[in-house]
């Protein structure tokens, strides 16, 4: 096909070389020569070469003229065969727009989101009336801005112009599948699928797994086995069968610089107003090694600052001191200097500070004798407030008020008490079982939260009674600040022990007596934790209550373990946030107030009789407060943008091509290249430039051949040394 076919008339000029050749033959000069003997000899030897050279010259000159004429006529090659004869086909275009927050990357020269917007506007600008577009935002979930192909191009352009990048991570595969589905019913229209993304590896992570998996099976089988519209396999049948092209535009920066605090831990987990704490921060980075810093803000006041060195792909860990804080919930954030991706430069979290921990001890006064002394060694301590009840009195207590509950020789328990305790642990409570003579192993069978299943109570031989305690999990928070008196050997005499079998893989042995006897079991249950001592809190079983280890162990179990069930410091931004870890119940009409003071209603979902609260369409990171009618707002949630998206490791086009495994994939770097490739696909690939290059090459060849033909070889008189006297130097 030709863009300027009228120039093809000039192909007649291709006959000029032949014409000139024929004319020159007619105008042959006659030369009377002394003898033809040498000419005949030379002609005989050279005629074949001369003829070939002449033919070659003629061909080259004709080709040169044809190439130049063709270049002016601007030929192009259609890549879509259907378009050849249809001339102009209506088309449906599906666009997948990556709206993850990595698309908001800005550098001094580039704005990735703006470039992606311009790429889409460029796609829209190249459509004709009658063409239709569907537009899908690839965020945490695919979100259709235009679900079905629509011909209202101006409206779509307006939507694109007003769109801002999201705050979540993205997965491109679901959006591509949805976009493919939107083109499924396009009939005879030409179809094109566009993906606009920054080339970040994260959105392709899941695709790689499925794509590589499907590599073992032919696409045809995928197409036949997968029900239309419900398949999640890759590639989708329409794409697998190469029915239409897929244009992938990479608008990202090839070597981005970004750093982000990815994790914050507070120690101790449950802060008390009278003790200082520590905030541990982990910072991940992309880009060259550079100096940076982390700053801790609490209630909008700068508390600490720490310099760090960032290295590409490495995680830097640092800590900042946290001074004692007043009782209550404080909003805090870790901040690093602003970089290309500003949205993840802050990490918001909440600090819950309590004045005292309430501890409930269940058992008879005799059973609780040593425990109460250990919890209150000098009467009432500043940090712990203990309360004792019998087994029967357990049901009367409101367990949520207690940070920890000790059950000393309290088994068997009534069924109602078991349910109450189970719910208490699920909601984040700490339950510590100390066996006793009252309960038999079978009595523990109904306690499903136990870390180990008691098998028997064993009386140890007097020779085997001396045991040395050993920390099998020294990094457990319980032992973090466990300090024994100098010279104290954690040695015990154990007369009786509760032998148990671990329940499952979650069961941990935190303490062991010698090598063979588990001493303290632990297991997380729901959001809480259950500890099981294998000896009673009574000296009838062992010398534990009398040992110097008992008091710090009991305190540590309460102080470290009790904070475990507290609400998480922060959570990630999501379209639907489950509030269960933060809020068990809320009055009707309660809502969340976001950092930009917008109100988000709380949604209640009842599943299997359990009511859970959810917040939907939470789009901004920051501190969210619970607002109740007539009550002051309290900080409830600290929400951050998902940090997986902060990893700006970019994929190379070849890697994306390998992941997608689609032969019709066209990858463009930026909107200009995309426009050119789209033009090549729709109109065809223009060959004018290539033809001009070819003409140049042919011209050079013609010049070389013509010079070879007309080359000035050394004349005989110049080669032979002929003196003025006619003497010829032989064989010169």
């Amino acid at each position: 096909m030709w863009l300027e076919p009228m120039y093809l008339w000039a192909t007649a000029a291709a006959g000029f070389p032949l014409l000139l050749h024929l004319l020159s033959r007619r105008k042959t000069v006659r030369i009377y020569f002394s003898t033809l003997r040498f000419l005949q000899l030379a002609q005989k030897q050279s005629s074949r070469r001369i003829r070939l050279e002449n033919i070659l010259l003629w061909l080259l000159r004709t080709a040169l003229i044809l190439l130049i004429v063709c270049a002016f006529a601007q030929p192009y090659v259609r890549s879509q065969s259907s378009g050849n004869w249809l001339k102009r086909t209506k088309r449906d275009v599906a666009i997948v727009w990556d709206e993850s927050f990595s698309m908001s990357y800005e550098s001094s020269r580039r704005n990735v989101w703006e470039e992606s917007r311009q790429a889409i506007l460029s796609i829209l600008a190249r459509l004709e009336p009658g063409d239709r577009v569907s537009l899908f935002m690839a965020g945490e979930d695919p979100f259709p801005l235009i679900a079905k192909p629509s011909g209202e191009l101006e409206k779509i352009a307006a939507l694109v112009k007003n769109r801002k990048p999201g705050n979540t991570s993205s997965q491109l595969q679901p959006a591509i599948l949805a976009a493919t589905e939107s083109l499924h019913d396009s009939g005879i229209r030409e179809r094109e699928l566009f993906i606009i993304t920054d080339g970040q590896a994260v959105p392709w992570s899941r695709l790689g797994a499925t794509a590589s998996k499907t590599k073992t099976t032919p696409p045809a089988s995928v197409a036949t086995n997968a029900p239309p519209g419900t398949t999640a396999t890759w590639p989708p049948p329409d794409l697998a069968n190469e029915k239409y092209p897929l244009f992938l535009t990479l608008v990202g920066v090839t070597a981005p610089e970004n750093a982000t605090p990815i994790q914050v831990d507070v120690y101790p987990a449950l802060l008390r107003s009278d003790i200082p704490g520590q905030v541990w921060v982990r910072v991940a980075a992309n880009g060259p090694q550079r100096e940076s810093s982390v700053t801790l803000f609490v209630d909008d006041k700068e508390i600490g600052h720490q310099n760090i060195t960032l290295t590409d792909g490495k995680i830097v860990e640092t800590s900042l001191a946290l001074p004692p804080l007043p009782v209550g919930t404080h909003f805090a954030r870790i901040e690093i200097p602003r970089d290309g991706l500003a949205r993840d430069d802050q990490f918001h979290f909440l600090l819950h500070v309590k004045e005292k921990f309430r501890v409930l001890s269940v058992g008879t006064p005799q059973d609780l004798f040593f425990l109460e002394r250990a919890l209150n060694p000098g009467g009432r301590t500043a940090s712990l407030e203990t309360h004792s009840v019998t087994t029967e009195g357990l049901l009367l207590e409101k367990l949520d008020d207690y940070s920890a509950i000790f059950l000393c020789n309290a088994v068997p328990l009534p069924g109602q008490a078991l349910l109450t305790l189970e719910r208490y642990v699920r909601d984040g409570g700490l339950l510590i079982f100390c066996p006793g003579d009252r309960g038999q192993p079978a009595d523990y069978a109904n306690i499903i939260s136990l870390p180990a299943k008691p098998v028997r109570i064993e009386n140890l031989d007097i020779k085997a009674q001396r045991k040395t305690l050993r920390l099998t999990k020294p990094r457990d928070p319980i032992f973090d600040s466990l300090r024994l008196a100098p010279g104290a050997v954690p040695a015990l005499a154990i007369q009786r022990v509760l032998r148990c079998d671990p329940v499952d893989k979650k069961t941990e042995v935190l303490l062991a007596a010698d090598a063979d006897m588990p001493f303290l079991y632990s297991r997380n249950f729901g959001r809480g934790r259950v500890l099981l001592l294998t000896v009673a809190a009574d000296r009838a079983w062992s010398t534990l209550p009398l040992s110097p280890l008992f008091l710090p162990l009991v305190h540590q179990m309460v102080l470290a373990g009790a904070g475990q069930g507290e609400p998480p410091l922060a959570t990630w931004l999501s379209r639907d946030i489950d509030l269960a870890p933060f809020l068990n119940e809320a009055p009707l009409g309660a809502s969340l107030v976001g950092p930009d003071h917008n109100t988000i209603p709380l949604r209640r979902f009842i599943n299997n009789g359990v009511t859970t609260l959810h917040a939907e369409n939470v789009t901004e990171p920051g501190i969210y407060r619970l607002a109740q009618s007539g009550a002051e707002t309290t900080p409830l949630l600290a929400i951050n943008v998902p940090r997986g998206e902060s990893d700006l490791t970019m994929l190379k086009p070849s890697e994306i091509r390998a992941k997608l495994g689609l032969p019709q994939l066209v990858i463009a770097q930026g909107k200009d290249e995309l426009a050119r490739m789209v033009e090549e696909h729709r109109v065809g690939k223009p060959l004018a430039e290539q033809l001009l290059w070819a003409a140049l090459v042919v011209g050079l060849l013609e010049w070389l051949v013509a010079n070879r033909v007309n080359r000035k070889t050394a004349t005989l008189t110049s080669r032979m040394l002929i003196e003025a006297s006619g003497r010829v130097h032989a064989h010169a």
Binding site: F33, S34, S46
Partner: protein
């Protein structure tokens, strides 16, 4: 063509030739006393040998010193010195009429012959002429007068290049006709069978003639320096050949060089003084350079 010496050579050209001599490298047999060595014993001052005295010998030739020493009669013999008889053999075949510029090879040969004749006659040597094409067209005996030279040059001027060449056979006939040792100067383009020509030249040498071969060729014949394809017509045979000279030039030059080398090598072997004469060079200039070199090298 104008006839006579003064029509062929201008005074300043004659002036340039004055003082030049053409010496034979070998003994020659002349009819007059001259300045060239003769195979005979004669009355020159150059002592040759002794011979026993026979009655009738001139007593003044007796070598008295030998008689005094040996008491035997010997007469002294001296080298005979004779004049040089030079024969110009000029090719007037059609190929010699090749004239890419003003002067053809034949005209060039005529001017060269005039210059040679002037040099020869000036020292009282004799000049003769054989003009041939496919046969001997003219044969003039050797004489030592300017009148004869003018006759020779007139004959040359009266004939035009024509006919095919038959150099070899003609040369044999000429060789047979020249009985006494002489200086043979052949002026030709030698476009004939080389082997036949070389045999004819050998014939001359066998008869003890001193042979000079002036191989007259035009620059374009050597280089084929034409730029456009052309139809070449053979002057002798009227054959036609369409040739692009730029394409065949290398092969042509190689063939011509082989042709020239063959003549040169063969002439060297036969002690024939072979000279390639390019018509681009003025005849007088060439001749002066040639004769000076010949005199220098003996």
């Amino acid at each position: 063509m104008k006839e006579g010496l003064h029509h062929l050579l201008l005074p300043h050209e004659l002036q340039k030739l004055s003082g030049l001599t053409l010496q034979s490298r070998y003994v020659v047999e002349g009819s007059l006393a001259g300045r060239h060595r003769s195979p005979l014993r004669g009355a020159s001052t150059e002592f040759a040998d002794h011979r026993a005295y026979f009655p009738g010998d001139d007593p003044k030739r007796l070598d008295w010193k030998v008689l005094g020493r040996t008491d035997r009669y010997f007469v002294r013999r001296y080298e005979d010195e004779t004049n040089l008889r030079t024969y110009l053999i000029v090719d007037r075949s059609a190929s010699m009429g090749y004239a890419p510029v003003a002067m053809s090879k034949y005209q060039y040969a005529c001017r060269l012959a005039a210059a040679l004749g002037y040099i020869v006659i000036k020292v009282r040597d004799s000049i003769g002429l054989y003009l041939y094409s496919n046969q001997i067209d003219v044969a003039l005996g050797a004489r030592n007068s300017f009148q004869h030279l003018n006759t020779v040059l007139r004959v040359l001027g009266q004939h035009k290049p024509a006919n095919k060449t038959n150099t070899a056979q003609t040369l044999h006939q000429i060789a047979d006709s020249i009985q006494r040792r002489a200086l043979i100067i052949l002026l030709s383009d030698l476009f004939d069978d080389p082997e036949g020509i070389l045999k004819a030249l050998a014939h001359f040498r066998k008869q003890h003639h001193d042979v000079i071969l002036f191989h007259i060729l035009d620059q374009t014949e050597l280089d084929l320096s034409f730029n456009r394809p052309a139809e070449f017509i053979d002057l002798e045979t009227d054959e036609k050949l369409l040739v692009d000279p730029r394409g065949v030039a290398p092969t042509y030059r190689a063939a011509v060089k082989k042709f020239l080398d063959h003549y040169q090598d063969s002439c060297n072997q036969m002690k024939i003084d072979y000279r390639l004469v390019n018509t681009k060079q003025e005849p007088e200039t060439f001749l002066k350079a040639y004769l000076e070199e010949r005199k220098r090298c003996g």
